[in-house]
Symmetry: C2
Subunit: 339 residues, 2 copies
């Protein structure tokens, strides 16, 4: 995993944001309560509908699962729900894909979310990290995160579709992880059926409900069925089905969330610039900036009880999630504003 | 899958109980509402504690997961929590184990829950169905469900530990699926550390909360870690962690549940005998009985809105879960009592 761009302090195979226990271990005397800005999860969650007891009690039925897939298809502009697979989080889809192919040459466009490289390596494939999709020549599988985490790079649909067509012609796959696309102006490839194209969509980040574990793959129906079989029956918990179905159908909430989070992201950029941050990019759920003394700022933030994301590959970078409310904005401003 | 004992009407790879949509398709004019006796899930669920919003919102932390593993270790009599892996349901553990071994000769003690055979076959292993553990000679992996589903057969711990020792000596595994052991007098192997022994424990059946998806493997720490890595980070949803932690610590509830369900099981046996059923066995969450005209009884029950489990391998068998309340007992009695 020496090539991974995601590993900060290493706890287990890959360290991720969102683990406040790790933060507390690093900063035992930090201001309380912790403000967790180390993830890209919407801090204003979808208001969960009251859940029926049966969601907890019954095994999810095939009809339950099909209605969730239909809701996702509708939300993602996919004409055929048979192209949609639901999973308990995108992570398990990232783990599953490498098991559904013979050993292949895989190119991951980097720097990006570290679990892609890790999963293909665990599956025994030959993995190269490349700087852009054009550098992936000769690969049988190309993985690109669009928009990218942590730098927010995006790729035009036409460019990715060309790449997918080339890969498909030799039995390859293009995996496009659109984990952060819901609230962005970028155009999703989910509505575009194409052999060998696998689009991943995350639920928990956009809807601020990362705990329920819900994600989707959109691909051709034959591969969708193979992924579904690999996940086995009852892979998605009842509460996640009920919440996902309701939230995915609520387009007005999504539009409001996009507007509000874009305003937050712009506010965060101004704040980071104040402190000498050069914003590298991001999405409206996180902003990545370079600082002359990023390690020093990381420590000052940590001491103030604010946990942000570091990157082993580029120690000048820090990634900031969005503060949840006025109190969190105030505490962040206090540390970031020049004295 | 021609050797599977679980396949009733075939919907997808293996048909399972619990899918009332399948029942409704078979009996479109059935009495309403349906009584689902096709599973072995406790009809009186654990009273869920109120869940904190953070269980839905935050990614489950390592500390959350560790506290769940500690609660399971305590409940299952396991001294070392590092021997416990938590998963989103036992099914995914059944799917995962075959991927963690080189291709092996696998013996599954049958008739039993069909997903074991199916998962090892999907993993490319050579699978034989055997009638008892002694017939598994030459196998590198033996799978036994104890107590067994659907017939309730049990194996003495000493016999299974001998078998495990023999398998371990040649690098093999003994997989003991104790999905139904919680409420039984049978002795679990979970507290007995032994190389190559993998014990599976199910949460949803005992606690009547199959929808949340929670199960555990108990094995040696090295294999436990490999299973955990295969499941990836955040495999268990936040609500399942919160509910599991509370329920597993509640021993008084478990004792009461065992007494109440045993009384129910005895009542069900009497009712089945009334109708000419010869009880084959079962656990206190389901009873399996042979009938001279099982297909006819299945149809009469279905027409009355009561869905039970059939078995392809033995068409004389029907498996009955427990009715949930007085109304359900009455409706079942009406169909089962001789006219």
């Amino acid at each position: 995993m020496s090539g991974s761009e995601e590993a900060g302090e290493r706890v287990g195979p890959i360290a991720h944001g969102g683990d406040l226990d790790a933060a507390a271990a690093l900063f035992p005397h930090a201001e309380q309560p912790w403000i967790d800005l180390s993830t890209g999860i919407n801090p204003v969650p979808y208001p969960c509908p009251p859940l029926e007891a049966s969601a907890f009690r019954r095994l999810p039925s095939r009809a339950d699962l099909q209605s969730l897939r239909a809701a996702a298809a509708e939300a993602y502009g996919v004409a055929d729900p048979d192209r949609v697979v639901a999973a308990p989080g995108t992570q398990i889809l990232i783990e599953t894909l490498p098991r559904l192919r013979p050993l292949s040459r895989v190119a991951v466009v980097a720097p990006t979310y570290g679990e892609h490289e890790a999963a293909w390596l665990r599956g025994g494939h030959a993995v190269t990290m490349v700087s852009d999709v054009e550098a992936a020549e000769g690969a049988e599988v190309v993985v690109v995160v669009n928009p990218n985490n942590p730098d927010g790079r995006t790729w035009a649909p036409a460019r990715l579709l060309d790449l997918a067509a080339g890969l498909a012609a030799r039995g390859g796959w293009l995996v496009v992880d659109e984990a952060f696309i819901d609230l962005e102006p970028a155009e999703s490839l989910a509505p575009r059926p194409m052999p060998g194209l696998v689009v991943l969509r995350s639920f928990g980040k956009t809807y601020g409900l990362a705990g329920i574990r819900l994600g989707f793959a959109v691909t051709d129906p034959a591969l969708a069925q193979r992924i579904g079989e690999a996940l086995g029956p009852w892979a998605v918990p009842g509460p996640a089905i009920a919440i996902g179905r309701a939230a995915l159908a609520d387009m007005p909430w999504l539009r409001e969330a996009a507007l509000a989070r874009h305003a937050d992201a712009m506010r965060l950029d101004r704040l980071l610039a104040c402190r000498g941050g050069r914003v590298v990019g991001g999405t409206c759920l996180f902003r990545t900036a370079a600082f002359d003394d990023a390690p020093g700022l990381f420590r000052r933030l940590g001491a103030a009880g604010i946990y942000v994301r570091r990157f082993e590959a580029d120690p000048r970078w820090l990634r900031f999630g969005l503060p949840a409310d006025k109190g969190e904005w105030c505490r962040l401003s206090r540390v970031l504003k020049p004295a």
